[in-house]
Amino acid sequence: MAEAHPVGFQWVMEAKKRGATVIHVDPRFTRTSALADVYVSLRAGSDIAFLGGLVNYVLENELDFREYVVAYTNAAAILREDYQGPDDLDGLFSGYDPDGRHYDSTTWQYEGADTPSPGSGEMTETEPAQGAGGDPSASRVGGAAGRAASYGDTHGSGGAAITGKPRRDETLQHPRCVYQVIKRHFARYTPEVVSQVCGVPEDQFLRVAREMTENSGRERTTALCYAVGWTHHSVGAQYIRTAAILQALLGNIGRPGGGILALRGHASIQGSTDIPTLFNLLPGYIPMPHANAHPDLESLVGDEEKQAGFWGNMRSYVVSLLKSWYGDAATADNDFCYGWLPRLTGNHGTYQTVADMADGKVKGYFLVGENPAVGSANAKMQRRGLASLDWLVVRDLVMIESATFWREAPEIETGEMRTEDIATEVFVLPAAAHTEKDGTFTNTQRLLQWHHKAVEPPDDARSDLWFYFHLGRRIREKLAGSTDERDAPLLNLTWDYPTDGPTADPSADAVLREINGTGPDGSALSAYTELKADGSTRSGCWIYCGVYADEANQAARRKPGQEQTWVAPEWGWAWPANRRMLYNRAAADRDGNPWSERKRYVWWDAKAGKWTGEDVPDFIPDRDPHYVPPESATGPDAIAGDDPFVMQTDGKAWLFAPQGVADGPLPTHYEPPESPVANPLYRQQQNPAREVYPRRDNLLHPSGAQPGSEVFPYVFTTYRVTEHHTAGGMSRTLPYLSELQPELFVEISPALADERKLQHLGWATVVTARTAIEARVLVTDRMRPLTVDGRTVHQVGIPWHWGPGGLSRGDAANDLVAVALDPNVHIQDKVGSCDIRPGRRPRGPALLEYVEEYRRRAGITELTGTEGVTP
């Protein structure tokens, strides 16, 4: 955190000054470790075992916050009889389909629930050719795995829907209640096993377990902070699930000083998820319609309407969005133009798209402030994709590698590509900087902050708002008068934003107001609870409704922090409803009283008959804590007075996820897609539901005990440094930052340096089956050899900011990384196996021969490392 979010880390130091214990768990020693009370070095990719060990410690010693757990989690819910877990099935959960490589979640349900399972065939893949390349197994693997997953991640912020409330045993003694099931599940993760899998000494693990449990409960809370390296795994969503189980058991959610705080890496990456430029979502975590499941509006929202919680009002969110986009054309008689929405048929995530691109299926591509030729996994495949396009539009501040690939890609040097053969037409359109445009960023705590335009952008530089507005305007002009039904959504689109200044820049303020939404009289709405399903309201993103309350840009509020309470509610605006902490009803006990004076935050004022406190209560304002809804209630009416998790259909935090997770209802340790270590826990080596792309341009290594694994004996992982930003477009071109971190390096331990004869400050070549890169060697005690399952495991740390362009240069670490994805969110695993050798890499065609020799020695084919069930 001190490394990648230095200014946020000041609050950790404030807490430390007041007596907090700071624990840092990370494969590499960073500036955070230097300031922590406890530093734990663990093997990259083993976090579920570490967190699972903490969960086991809590359950084994009955250190959970029992009142909280009984009241606010699904610990008491009783599961079906036929659920089986990794202990029963050698590393699998019940419901695994080895042909389709995905799970049917039927057996994970609560007893008596009749939830339709998305994995059970409701969604069937309609595009057999959607997978990857000419290999038929490729399409099967890519497509089928994507099927269940793309449904899983469309649940957005609400999680999956379940029907009705489960039968509960609040004594937590029933052998099939969630509490007992997770207790048995996590019993495997003893301190010995944590040590064996993670390479963490037992006493060090136990110190962390003690510190955390002693600092949680009625009087105290513990926060977990992670940077999104946690998500860069083929089990990334399950990392976060494990953290959520731990924090829910300790009563650390919805309470001050608690939580799981995702430290996201980009100015508006939260905003890019809320108002998603993501294939599977519409604004506000509304699922994009699927061709099979959602033929009409009713099918998209009907099931949700029967559920408890605020997703029960989903129809009003969707109708208001359609009204916002299609204006007067959207009426109740035409399903509010729902039929104009394009449909999904599977996983259309970026890696699937790039595989299709490399195969010539995608013709045109827009890159908007993104540099995949350096920043995406298997950057070599990315560049092949770019070289297979008809046309490419790059919008950026500087010349990035994704714009210059046709003459500067490493593949030109190796002879794999020739400039004159590349048919891609490239447009580079200069972008405006943040100081040259108005707009909002949503930071990592859901806070929208307005940045004001300071100066006009230079020459041809324009905001992306300008580009998309004028592109849309021209397309509409070109299609004007068309009677083709497919053009109707474009011609009826509300697209009349006021423009301003010498460049006719559209008004970001007007767009924000449209996002907020308006009522029947055209005035700005102040809360999403005002949205209607009858077409009388409009809102471009329901969770942002209120950002323009009272016809004022609430995101531009800048009342100085020192003139406000510690919650600072008048600085910017947080979604939803300017609420700074989600699920804060959980800060009070079942009766609505603060759990303790020390930790008061939101509570029930019985006299006034309403919730009150330091923050906007995340609850129905006047709902009595003892309210019990009638059986027939749906939507917000069905939220009981002690259901703090108001977006969940049962109002409870899910220790066990009966629905909505593609790779199991509970987290369990799997090795990364490539690993020199055989899974110490069971036969199943990797996540059996991970998404793989068996292609010539994405070869994986043998793992564990498989022959050939020894050719790539070391673990590598990638990460950031303070002085550079992501793929480098905003840092490698700047002189100060380039001077601070002038070139790519790899961090290794003295023991590994000795083993491979690597010289500090000398050159090293790092090799995987994808390619080889070179870097300067940094020999340092910060990297520690770990003892894993009785043997020494060395790790190689590689920052991923570099590429061949800019002032500070180097090979791209992402050239080494394979595409193997988490099935919930289709995000890559950044951990792999490698070899490292002294000296620079071969140049030209010799590089190809060098890598080919490694592949031969390891016996690698397209199918290596792509198995679902480990043979």
Binding site: S268, E370, A433, L447, V511, I515, C541, H725
Partner: protein, 189 residues
């Protein structure tokens, strides 16, 4: 210049006679440095902004003189950052005023070996033509079983996560109306 002024011009005299016996402050100050004024003082206006790097969201104050950004400082009013910026945030003036910025449209024709100039207006028009054409050529009304698809798989987009919410909103709105569904963001990477 009077004698008194002349003598007071000597740093050694000021060091002995003035409040700076160690000669590390006002005693050592030349008239040149005395006349220097911070860029933050000289600015025509100060504009409130937010750091464009990571997601902490530190407040920035952008100092503008003669319609140029002359300095960017942390905003002490921000309850998030309390005036601090990290090395990257502190380099943001160098980012927005960088000579490395591309400010003119660059065009590479198919199989071309050099960049060419192109008017911005022409470029946007050409891109609009390509979108319309590619959409027409790759349109899918229904799948083999007659289910509605209404989309193109020929056009894709990948955005960075320094896009404003308003920009993401127009992108999603336009792409969805076009039927382009392969719309992605750094948020998945």
């Amino acid at each position: 210049m009077g004698v008194r002024t002349w003598i007071e011009g000597w740093p050694a005299y000021r060091q002995l006679a003035g409040p700076d016996p160690l000669g590390r402050g006002v005693a050592a100050e030349s008239s040149g440095s005395r006349d220097l004024v911070a860029r933050t003082e000289q600015a025509d206006r100060v504009v409130r902004s937010i750091c464009p790097y990571c997601a902490v969201g530190c407040g920035q104050r952008v100092y503008v003189k003669d319609e140029q950004v002359t300095q960017i400082e942390g905003d002490p009013d921000s309850p998030i950052s309390r005036g601090r910026l990290c090395p990257k945030g502190s380099a943001s003036k160098s980012l927005v005023t960088s000579p490395a910025r591309v400010t003119k449209v660059r065009y590479r024709r198919p199989h071309g070996s050099e960049w060419e100039d192109l008017e911005l207006d022409t470029a946007v028009d050409m891109i609009a033509d390509r979108v319309v054409r590619t959409r027409r050529e790759t349109w899918q009304d229904t799948d083999d079983e007659g289910r509605v698809l209404r989309r193109t798989m020929g056009i894709a987009s990948l955005g960075g996560a320094t896009l404003d919410n308003e920009e993401n909103y127009l992108m999603k709105k336009l792409y969805t109306a076009l039927g382009a569904i392969q719309v992605e963001n750094q948020a998945r990477i």
